[in-house]
């Protein structure tokens, strides 16, 4: 496996690593693990469950049998994968369709020195090819082979940089996170939320009294303590607040632990025209991304980010998002100091000077658009409270000047910029986001106007890119004066028409500030 086949000769068929059956079996069992465990512990031991165990066992054996039929061949122009017991399938994957070769190693994989290889391409929710498992040496060789062959085939089409000999491209480390940074990742993001929610749901399912017992015991402890201090209703409030605070602290701790497991040893490397990310403590993940497949960028700076003086950079790439999220290479800088993030951006988009020196402001009445919904919400809340509680509800009206101040600050900070073939928008006041994309990566434009927009003479410009994640804010310029929106629309249309492969400058790119 370590020697690629010469062009012209028929490549031999190779098989997976001999221990693959174990991993296939484990993965099958894990799919059924939760129902099996639930059945084991809560079942009543009658015949029906016995049959379901047999069914599961048969399914597992069948998939193990599938391993024995898996063959692949490394041809000159692509991979050919044959598999299947009853339904035989032959799949050809051309090299230029493979965008990413992702390696995944859990603890068990590392024990056997094997790795799971996934070949990802643009589009499609499932990887084009999934090899479970290859020895780690073979996996690295396959990765290098695909990289070399991809460079060889796409080098012909693109033709700009020429073709680099394999192994001659220098690798540069762009970003390496130490443990402190990974802890920061955990503090910033609330990673454990899904796990905790699942746990709570599971405990409530198993025994609904358990959850209420925990809450009751806690309240009793805290109340007993407050009763010594002779507090009454304040005591209940304190106990509830303390429970929430402790829960949040525990959640953040869990988030830090999860971040350590997932991001320990995070290294972002640039190898030639690709970016490679490696991370993980117990299970190692390794994926790469061709630079030119990056569609759009998002820089985030939330409140906790600012406390810790960090930002995070996430990119959209032309590959689609997988449901398990294990394979998608989006976070190329989970945390970084603003300087590190700026350096990265300048590395990836050389034409752009980041941070941008000048941002255009939105429509002068954009603050009103931000203020009105908050005002309506506060008035509604006041009405409800006054109806319920009486005059003390009027205190909520104090939120109005705060909402006004927030709207004005938001509008002052928001802006957009169209320079150097990149269109960028920044929004947010407490939690700031910058979103930008190169004009040549835009796929479609849309101009929308709600009735409120029309009243003020505003419009929203939507810019569509490929692979925009659901968790990222959309690339849109809100609250633009309509005239400016239409001018931008016309300018971007011309800029998008410039051929991607041609070398000419897109008109007006450098003149528009």
């Amino acid at each position: 496996m370590t020697t690629p086949s010469e062009p012209g000769e028929v490549a031999p068929e190779r098989r997976l690593h001999p221990v693959s059956w174990l991993f296939v079996l484990i993965e099958q069992l894990m799919q059924f693990a939760l129902p099996l465990l639930v059945l084991l512990f809560t079942g009543r031991g009658d015949r029906g469950e016995f049959f379901s165990f047999i069914g599961v066992g048969a399914l597992a054996l069948y998939s193990v049998g599938q391993y024995f039929t898996y063959r692949f061949r490394v041809n000159d122009d692509g991979l050919v994968i044959r598999s299947g017991v009853f339904q035989k399938s032959v799949r050809h994957i051309p090299y230029n369709r493979i965008h990413n070769v992702a390696l995944h190693q859990s603890l068990l994989h590392r024990l056997f020195d094997v790795a799971e290889v996934r070949l990802e391409s643009a589009g499609g929710a499932r990887p084009e090819g999934q090899m479970r498992v290859l020895s780690i040496r073979d996996a690295h060789a396959l990765e290098a082979l695909v990289r070399e062959r991809t460079a060889r085939t796409t080098g012909v089409i693109v033709g700009a940089d020429g073709v680099a000999a394999p192994g001659a491209e220098p690798e540069r480390t762009l970003l390496a996170l130490d443990t402190g940074d990974v802890v920061r990742v955990g503090l910033i993001s609330n990673r454990g939320l899904v796990v905790v929610a699942a746990l709570i749901a599971a405990t409530m399912q198993a025994s609904s009294e358990l959850f209420t017992q925990i809450v009751e015991r806690w309240t009793r402890v805290v109340l007993g303590w407050t009763r010594e201090l002779h507090l009454s209703t304040a005591g209940t409030v304190i106990s509830v607040i303390s429970l929430i605070v402790v829960a949040m602290v525990l959640l953040r701790l869990l988030s830090v632990v999860l971040a350590l497991l997932q991001y320990h040893g995070f290294v972002l490397t640039a190898e030639g025209r690709r970016l490679r990310v490696e991370r993980g403590l117990l299970s190692r993940l390794r994926g790469s991304l061709p630079r030119r497949r990056i569609q759009a960028y998002t820089v985030r700076e939330g409140v906790v980010h600012r406390w810790l003086d960090r930002q995070s950079l996430v990119v959209d790439s032309a590959a689609s998002e997988a449901p398990d999220g294990k394979r998608s290479l989006r976070e190329i800088a989970p945390v970084g100091t603003p300087d590190q993030v700026s350096t990265l951006i300048r590395e990836l988009v050389p034409a752009l000077t980041w941070p941008l020196p000048a941002w255009e402001r939105l429509h002068p009445r954009a603050w009103r658009r931000q203020f009105t919904p908050s005002l309506v919400a506060v008035l509604l809340a006041t009405t409800v409270l006054v109806w319920r509680v009486g005059t003390p509800g009027l205190w909520t009206l104090l939120l109005v000047p705060f909402a006004l101040w927030r709207a004005i600050a938001w509008a002052r900070r928001a802006g957009y910029s169209s320079t150097a073939g990149v269109i960028a928008v920044r929004e947010g006041w407490l939690s700031r986001t910058w979103r930008f994309a190169e004009t040549k990566k835009l796929q479609a434009l849309a101009l929308t106007q709600s009735p409120f927009d029309r009243r003020h003479g505003m419009a929203t410009l939507w810019l569509d890119t490929a692979g925009a994640g659901r968790r990222e804010p959309p690339l849109r310029l809100r609250y633009l004066p309509e005239r400016i929106a239409r001018e931008l629309h016309a300018f971007l249309t011309t800029a998008m028409d410039a051929r991607v492969n041609a070398q000419r400058e897109s008109p007006g790119a450098s003149t528009n500030r």
């Binding site: 643009a122 089409i157 497949r293 569609q295 032309a318 040549k440 990566k441 835009l442 796929q443 479609a444 434009l445 849309a446 101009l447 929308t448 106007q449 709600s450 009735p451 029309r454 939507w462 569509d464 890119t465 490929a466 692979g467 925009a468 959309p474 629309h489 249309t493 011309t494 998008m496 028409d497 051929r499 991607v500 492969n501």
Partner: protein, 207 residues
């Protein structure tokens, strides 16, 4: 890749004069050929800047579609209301309420269909296809020619009866992954598709 021979995908309804043009040059770069030889005035799409309306037949189709869709939803809600009200005493007659719900839903959906027909405009520009929809919430969506991945033409049973078709333009984007415009004249849809087919000579890898 398929782009090498776009003519292979031309529908049989394309006029015989278009077929011999086997060179893969898109319609916009030479005089646009009539898209169908159905006898009536052939629809030739010349890229221009004026907005075109949907044909009057589409009004019937949209209204009818709204009527049927609203009727189905209304029936569901009516059945629900019937089930709830037949148990209660002193409530209005369940059949009246159910009938009322069906009528309201059908009428609203039909009106929405008509409204949408009335306020939809499209045009083929040099740069691509643009569709404008809506009156209160307006949106204009532009798909540049260079970003078209592939095109679909669908003809539902009702659309077929009135000689209409739905054109779907697929891009690599996320929000506008598929820009779908129903209610186009069949000839217009075919002409638009021919005009928007990705060029065969450019390896426009716009990703």
């Amino acid at each position: 890749m398929d782009l090498q021979s776009p003519d292979a995908s031309l529908p049989p309804s394309a006029s015989p004069s278009a077929a011999p043009d086997a060179s893969p040059v898109p319609a916009a770069e030479h005089a646009p050929t009539p898209a169908t030889g159905s006898g009536a005035s052939p629809a030739s799409i010349v890229p221009g800047t004026e907005w075109r309306e949907l044909p009057p037949a589409a009004r019937t189709v949209f209204t009818l579609g709204g009527l049927i869709g609203g009727g189905v939803t209304g029936t569901l809600f009516g059945a629900l209301a019937w089930a709830i009200l037949s148990g209660m005493s002193g409530a209005p007659h369940p059949a009246l309420v159910a009938g009322g719900l069906i009528a309201v839903f059908a009428a609203t959906s039909a009106w929405r269909g008509w409204f949408r027909w009335h306020h939809t405009r499209w045009r083929l520009l040099e740069s691509g296809i643009e569709v404008r929809v809506g009156r209160f919430w307006r949106s204009e969506t532009l798909v540049p020619r260079s970003r078209v991945q592939h095109l679909d033409i669908d003809r539902g049973p009702i659309e077929r009866r009135y000689g209409l078709a739905t054109l779907t333009v697929h891009t690599a984007g996320t929000r506008t992954a598929a820009l779908s415009q129903p209610g186009l004249l069949d000839a217009d849809a075919v002409a638009l598709r021919d005009a928007l087919l990705p060029e065969a000579n450019g390896n426009d890898d716009a990703l």
